[in-house]
């Protein structure tokens, strides 16, 4: 194959420009009218074959959120005939919604799976049904806040007592649920509870029932009863499977006048998300009122079921910028102007969804963080990235101002604390002036910005126009294996470099906290990089976005002790002699070779053969490709050295493990 794969890729554009639709200008008008058509659509799985979901045993245990006693829930499942597990995304912490009743009408209720103390989490379908069958009282999820506990206490269920789940099959968007004989006498409410709960799952549009394996039809006009009920498939006159719309056909009181479908009771409403309404009267106009726990009015909006209102992000900022409990009230007016029964639920407000699975997160241009003068959100989730910015090629010494090199060279810790420097300081702030910044025992570099925020002297008072030390980077004393960064709520973590394993780095950041905190203070990061004998300080008076952009720009300066790793090079054929004829591709061979600890590359080569690549500019790093797609990097202090520092096995999904067991 001679063609550049990049050109092949270019020719494989899945949506070439000529295939793209024109701009639908009606959408533009709707957006500017403040009524965007975002919907929480039901994703229908188009699986061609059936996927059988059956709950296995052993997962029906959860612990209280507050760390109290374990609760063992009743095991409701039989030994499954076929167990096909549909593993849950581990990064995803979902909220399941089950439908209970309040005043006899359906009420979506959130079940936060973060309290499930089981890994891996079980299949969501059977779990949702079990949570439903156990009833509202079975959710003993620890100390719920008062508004939620009070709301939960009002919930009831119509599911016949003793009903158990026998099996659940999802195929072509239809969930077929097999329940025990108790459910044969199910009321319309009970059927609606199951149908709504199942169709709330991704990929499920309709539900069908069987009782003890016997298929059931739902509702039957011939029977003369205009309410949903189950009857055996022997008289197939009713519907085999039904979706939510089915219940609007019946004048039953399954639905309340207005139902807040999203967020669910006790569930999460994020900034920018729509409040989804349903109910018996589609034409009704609904006033939404969001109130803080202390009674402060947070938000007021007018909506209809077909035209939802979106929670403006400013509301959250006003409420403190991070998650808070609040009460959402929906007051409906019928088309004739009469007031209908209101609905009120406790909800958890949360800022924009964090983009936690973006590996190169530090962003300068489009980040959603608030302006520097507001309180930083307490991000408890570490932002995971794979390649640390400084794992790439370093900066050449002549790319770096002389003052930086001189400052570093004069520092006591120069030998163990390589110089980090931004690749493009001008992009961070035009016209910034670099100078050395005193950092006792270490080195420090700071950029001044005329008349910008800063302080007159190190450790001095801040002022809005001092123009000193707008941002900077420093290598301080401190243990290289320190964990001081964990004092910050906002965490950054990088697992490995693009080519090799040793670049584990982590950082934490927040307002410096020397004064009252918040506005006017620099955002400060403590940064640790493997194999560096110091803790780095990186700071900016220009806010979080700016700090993250600065961190993203940091590179080691070559010749100052950083191990900037180069690209993988083919391993030279003639470098080693006495190697095994064929290179081993299985992990066991390498584990055996390293069983007694570090060995020289020559000795290793005799056992497992010639490496595939080499890389590294501080260490000498040969690498082997294994048959399972993982890659093994061996960090030697030099080509002829027997000093093996690490043997990092990097799996295809980026997990790194040191075979030396360090």
């Amino acid at each position: 194959m001679n063609r550049d794969p990049f050109d092949t890729l270019r020719s494989r554009n899945p949506a070439p420009p000529e295939s793209l639709p024109e701009a639908p200008m009606t959408l533009a008008s709707r957006i500017t009218a403040g009524r965007p058509t975002l919907r929480r659509g039901l994703a229908i799985a188009t699986a061609a074959a059936a996927v059988v979901l059956v709950a296995g045993g052993g997962w029906l245990i959860w612990s209280r959120a507050g760390g109290g006693r374990d609760v063992v829930a009743p095991a409701t499942t039989l030994v499954p005939e076929t167990t096909t597990s549909l593993p849950l995304d581990q990064e995803e912490v979902p909220e399941l919604v089950v439908y209970f009743l309040r005043d006899g009408a359906l009420m979506p209720v959130a079940r936060d799976l973060r309290v499930l103390n089981v890994r891996p989490l079980p299949d969501l379908g059977p779990l949702a049904i079990d949570l439903l069958l156990w009833g509202p009282g079975a959710w003993d999820a620890g100390p719920l806040p008062d508004p939620v506990a009070a709301a939960e206490a009002q919930l009831t269920t119509a599911i016949p007592e003793g009903t158990t789940l026998l099996g659940l099959t999802i195929a072509d968007g239809v969930a077929i649920v097999d329940l025990s004989s108790e459910f044969a006498a199910a009321s319309p409410q009970a059927i609606a509870q199951v149908v709504y709960t199942l169709t709330g799952l991704d990929g499920v549009a309709a539900a069908a029932f069987s009782i003890e394996g016997m298929p059931q039809a739902i509702g039957s006009l011939t029977s003369g009863v205009l309410t949903p009920h189950l009857e055996s498939w022997g008289t197939p006159t009713g519907e085999p499977s039904v979706g939510r719309e089915f219940f609007s056909m019946y004048p039953s009181d399954v639905m309340s006048d207005v139902m807040i479908e999203h967020p669910a009771l006790g569930g999460t409403l994020r900034a920018g998300e729509a409040v989804i309404l349903a109910g018996r009267l589609d034409a009704a106009e609904v006033t939404l009122t969001l109130t803080a726990v202390d009674g402060t009015l947070l938000w007021n909006a007018l909506a209809t079921p077909s035209d939802p209102a979106h929670l403006p992000p400013e509301v959250l900022e006003a409420a403190g910028g991070h998650g808070v409990w609040a009460t959402l009230l929906a007051e409906a007016t019928a088309s004739d102007g009469s007031a209908l029964d209101p609905s009120e639920i406790p909800v958890w407000l949360e800022p924009d969804v964090p983009f936690t699975d973006e590996p190169d997160l530090p962003e300068a241009t489009t980040t959603t963080v608030p302006a520097p003068t507001t309180t930083l959100p307490a991000g408890t989730t570490p932002i995971m990235g794979h390649a640390a910015p400084w794992s790439g090629p370093g900066l050449a010494p002549d790319e770096v101002p002389a003052v930086a090199l001189e400052t570093w060279a004069a520092a006591e810790n120069a030998a163990e604390c390589a110089l980090l420097f931004p690749a493009d300081p001008a992009a961070l702030a035009d016209g910034a002036v670099l100078h050395d910044r005193y950092f006792g025992g270490g080195w420090g570099l700071a950029w001044d910005l005329p008349s910008g925020p800063g302080r007159w002297e190190p450790g001095g008072e801040y002022c809005a126009d001092c123009g000193r030390e707008a941002f900077g980077v420093a290598g301080t004393g401190g243990e290289p294996t320190g964990t001081e960064d964990s004092i910050w709520a906002n965490r950054l973590e990088w697992t490995y470099g693009p080519e090799a394993g040793p670049r584990y780095s982590h950082a934490g950041y927040g307002y410096e906290g020397l004064t009252s905190g918040g506005a006017g203070e620099p955002v400060l990061a403590y940064l640790f990089i493997d194999h560096q004998g110091c803790m780095y300080n990186v700071w900016s008076f220009r806010g979080e976005e700016h700090l993250l952009a600065l961190i993203e720009q940091l590179r080691f300066v070559e010749g100052t002790g950083g191990y900037g790793l180069g690209a993988l090079q083919p391993f030279p054929n003639d470098m080693l002699t006495g190697c095994a004829g064929e290179t081993a591709r299985d992990l066991a061979s390498f584990e055996a070779a390293l069983a007694n600890g570090p060995i020289s590359l020559e000795a290793l080569c005799a056992l497992v053969g010639v490496p595939d690549y080499q890389t590294g500019s501080g260490l000498f790093i040969p690498a082997y490709d294994l048959a399972d797609g993982s890659r093994l990097f061996l960090g030697y202090t030099g080509p002829r050295s027997d000093d093996l520092i690490y043997a990092n096995l990097v799996s295809p999904d980026g997990e790194t493990r040191d075979l030396l067991g360090k």
């Binding site: 194959m1 794969p5 990049f6 092949t8 890729l9 270019r10 494989r12 554009n13 899945p14 949506a15 420009p17 793209l20 639709p21 024109e22 701009a23 200008m25 959408l27 533009a28 957006i31 500017t32 965007p36 058509t37 975002l38 659509g41 994703a43 799985a45 699986a47 061609a48 074959a49 996927v51 549909l86 849950l88 995304d89 990064e91 995803e92 991704d202 990929g203 920018g272 403006p312 969804v353 983009f355 699975d357 973006e358 190169d360 530090p362 962003e363 300068a364 241009t365 489009t366 980040t367 794979h386 390649a387 090629p393 690749a423 693009p498 952009a549 993203e552 720009q553 490709d625 295809p652």
Partner: protein, 172 residues
């Protein structure tokens, strides 16, 4: 028609939004379609422009508008992908992989797509931006929020790694 005196008046936010919507909707739709498929692309594009409207004052002027929109789309799509992942796995369990029979690409194309999937997501994105959105390094930099220099380096390295993955795949 020229209205005297209107030249220097800043356009209303609505007019400005309308213009950028008309000009860039197809490209943003295309960006999303290439990553989450055409079915989901409409929703993603609508969300991107909703965000753009909310932050209309912060949307940069041309020619930086589209890279900015791509930057927003990148995050919107990341969220959608996360939500869709579970569903995709469901589909993957089906006997027939959906859409596989629509077109039979050459072995090279299959290889390059497989190789692309084996790359890190940062590499993958920089390659797609260059190959499919046909962006220059400076524009890629605006999408990813790095310097143009860094974008060029990233693209160069991603291309190398793509080629590396291809040779890793095919034993010679």
């Amino acid at each position: 028609m020229t209205v005297v005196g209107a030249v220097d008046r800043p356009a209303s936010p609505e007019a400005r939004f309308s213009t950028l919507f008309a000009r860039h909707y197809p490209a943003v739709f295309g960006y999303a379609a290439r990553r989450v498929g055409r079915d989901e692309a409409g929703d993603a594009a609508a969300e991107v422009f909703t965000i753009a409207w909310r932050r209309i004052a912060r949307v940069p002027a041309e020619p930086e508008t589209l890279p900015w929109l791509y930057g927003v789309a990148r995050k919107v799509v990341a969220n959608q992908e996360r939500a869709a992942r579970r569903r995709l796995r469901l589909e993957a369990r089906a006997a027939v992989s959906p859409g596989a029979a629509v077109e039979a690409p050459g072995a090279a194309a299959l290889d390059v797509e497989a190789a692309l999937l084996r790359l890190g997501s940062a590499d993958r994105e920089v390659l797609r931006l260059a190959a499919w959105e046909e962006l220059q390094p400076a524009e890629i930099a605006a999408v990813l929020g790095c310097s143009a220099n860094a974008a060029a380096v990233r693209l160069h390295r991603a291309r190398q790694r793509l080629a590396g993955e291809m040779t890793r795949e095919v034993p010679s």
